[in-house]
């Protein structure tokens, strides 16, 4: 199948998957009963509550309710977020920017560090560096993210106060404009170096916490494909023609070992997204994760629904991008099979 055809097919399939996700999540949220509680005031009479129910179609059968929700969703109305006291679609951009800033930073660090560690370990199989990376990789996949965050917080915030929690210091937040909602980029756009450093400083601990497990996953994958590549004939050939080992690894083995790692990077983005829930809670990072945990406590179904839809959509798009990138990188891949 041609790459273009494949992308087109995946793009056509995407709305269907999102539709499926929305049906499952809608059914789930209605399973816990009518969401009217979040909209009603303690002083309301029974008649007023009944009127509220009928105004938002909450007295209709669930499938009909879903159709009303779908109609709204298509026209850009995802309901009212009780916890934010604002329409859901108005709240999402800011929260999304905060979460994406965190996830992208953690992801970048994880990819760079994971690939580097995996390359070193794979090229020095069964030596000390390899054992260290393997141990790191397997413990990284076993660490509860929220616990790891607390372990960093105890010395670095509680004891020594080296790092702050939250997203930025108030004076810097007020000093610059926020066109993108990602504070590091906003600071750069405002050409304000101190605000930029402040944003990075706030971002450091949450990003390390979030990226730790992902680094481990990528390092593990990179290591095993490096181990496979360095035994290939073309690597021997490169060595035989007198190329220094450093270049053999960098130009030949690593380049090919990267291929299988690319797919893992796509999948681990889902890992990063779900990790933000716990990380945002611990570091008081005002993103989607913190939003949804407060929505769960309050029983705010519109917010929960929007959260699952947005994160699934991002996850699907990232995986699509990765698959396409993979297909372009390696023309031997048979798509759609």
């Amino acid at each position: 199948m041609q790459v273009r055809q494949y992308v087109l097919r995946r793009l056509l399939f995407l709305p269907l998957v999102v539709l499926g996700v929305s049906i499952i999540v809608f059914a789930l949220t209605r399973f816990s009963g009518s969401p009217v509680a979040i909209y009603q005031h303690p002083d309301m009479s029974q008649e007023q509550i009944a009127e509220l129910q009928s105004r938002y179609h909450l007295d209709d059968p669930v499938p009909v309710q879903y159709l009303f929700w779908l109609k709204g969703a298509v026209s850009g109305d995802l309901g009212w977020s009780g916890v934010s006291v604002a329409p859901v679609v108005d709240v999402i951009p800011n929260k999304l920017a905060a979460t994406m800033e965190l996830a992208i930073c953690a992801g970048l660090v994880a990819v760079l560090l994971g690939v580097a560690l995996g390359t070193i370990a794979g090229a020095r199989k069964d030596r000390a560096a390899d054992h260290f990376v393997r141990l790191f990789a397997i413990s990284g996949a076993s660490v509860p993210i929220f616990w790891f965050g607390l372990l960093l917080l105890i010395p670095l915030y509680v004891e020594w106060g080296v790092f702050p929690i939250g997203r930025s210091s108030p004076e810097f937040f007020e000093r610059i404009g926020h066109p993108t909602g990602m504070y590091t980029i906003d600071a750069l756009l405002n050409l304000d170096l101190r605000a930029f450093l402040d944003a990075v400083w706030h971002l450091t601990l949450p990003a390390i916490t979030l990226g730790f497990a992902t680094t481990a996953i990528i390092a593990r994958m990179m290591r095993s494909s490096m181990v496979e590549e360095v035994t290939e004939d073309y690597v021997d050939a490169a060595r035989a023609k007198g190329l220094p080992e450093r270049l053999v690894i960098r130009r030949h083995a690593r380049r090919n070992a990267l291929m299988p790692t690319v797919t893992v990077i796509g999948l681990s983005f889902g890992f990063l997204l779900q990790g933000t829930v716990a990380v945002e809670l611990i570091f008081r990072w005002p993103g989607l994760g913190q939003w949804v945990t407060s929505a769960i406590t309050a029983g705010d179904q519109a917010t929960i629904m929007a959260y699952v839809l947005v994160t699934s959509l991002i996850f699907l798009l990232v995986n699509l991008l990765v698959d396409v990138a993979y297909a372009y990188l390696d023309r031997r891949v048979v798509l759609g099979g």
Binding site: V25, F146, L150, V308
Partner: protein, 317 residues
């Protein structure tokens, strides 16, 4: 009735077609020997052995919980309260790992938490494997339109990251540990359905399946005797790895607040200690989290070891 009949017949149809028979050991003895060989091979790796020992320690802890500690509430799975011993640091008399801000003994919480983790992982993985194997088998063995429908459903389930999906389900069902179990089971079966479907499609093409079909075995019989037993190995590896990750994700959900508060569950315990961390009382969260980490690490080590033995391609990578 049919069970008695089937047990005497050779496992591979090829044997009945006059092809070379496997060695004439009685089936049970041969299986036992093979099991011994495999477990010997698995345990030769020191990391796997370490994982097995940690798991054994946790199981022992769970089994002996009532002997190791005495509950002081009617429900043993509730953290004890002792107003005389609030916030005792580790090493205090009678409280080896310290106490919480309501005087709950941290060691007590970890020991009874081992039972909760065992319950969580066995139930979730059990239900998930059962559903996954049924759905995956139907898709892979029956094939055709049913396969298409089931796999597209699986795609939808896979479109939502695990923890986020479980979070949405648990939130809808309401705050309780049982609901966390249900939510995780709903999320985890998908992986098994995929694995078993792929395996079955692969195994189905083998000659011995062809042979069984040629001598007129029923489809159910072929599935049960030839296809399923030869497709199940990757499921056992995945199930071992999931025994760890289920507790990891389950603890995250209870940390967020989806389990009853005061429960002797490791995630709840970390959350209980979280507010005290700011005040310098580090021990509650640290020890409870360490338990989760060791549990997940042990199952990851054993799962990796199993994969090395069962899948020679990935060996010593």
């Amino acid at each position: 009735m049919s069970g008695a009949k089937t047990s005497t017949r050779p496992r591979l149809a090829s044997a009945r077609l006059g092809m070379p028979r496997p060695p004439q050991l009685p089936a049970l003895k041969a299986r036992l020997q093979r099991g011994r060989e495999l477990s010997g091979e698995v345990l030769r790796n020191p990391l796997t052995l370490a994982g097995c020992l940690v798991i054994a320690a946790f199981l022992l802890m769970a089994a002996l919980a009532p002997i190791l500690t005495t509950p002081n509430t009617p429900d043993a799975y509730q953290m004890p309260r002792d107003w005389q011993a609030i916030d005792a640091p580790p090493g205090s008399p009678g409280h080896l790992l310290g106490t919480t801000s309501t005087g709950g003994d941290v060691l007590y919480g970890i020991i009874w938490g081992a039972r909760k983790s065992l319950q969580l992982s066995v139930m979730v993985v059990g239900i998930a494997v059962l559903i996954g194997v049924i759905v995956g088998s139907l898709a892979g063995f029956v094939g055709g339109r049913l396969d298409e429908i089931l796999m597209r459903t699986v795609d939808v389930f896979l479109a939502i990251p695990e923890l986020i999906f479980a979070l949405a389900i648990a939130a809808a069902l309401g705050t309780s540990f049982t609901n966390i179990i249900l939510a995780l089971a709903v999320v985890f079966w998908v992986k098994y359905a995929r694995i078993i479907r792929g395996q079955i499609i692969h195994v189905k093409q083998n000659e011995y399946v062809e042979a069984a079909r040629a001598i007129g075995d029923s489809r159910l019989r072929i599935y049960l005797k030839d296809v399923l037993p030869n497709s199940i190995t990757p499921v056992t590896v995945q199930a071992t790895l999931d025994m760890g990750s289920v507790v990891l994700i389950g603890a995250t959900l209870s940390f967020i607040g989806l389990a009853e508060s005061g429960l002797t569950e490791w995630g709840v315990l970390v959350a209980t200690g979280q507010s005290d961390v700011i005040a310098g009382k580090w021990w509650v969260s640290t020890f409870a989290g360490l338990a989760i980490f060791l549990w997940a690490l042990a199952f990851n080590l054993v799962g990796d070891g199993l994969r090395d033995v069962f899948d020679p391609k990935s060996q010593r990578r």
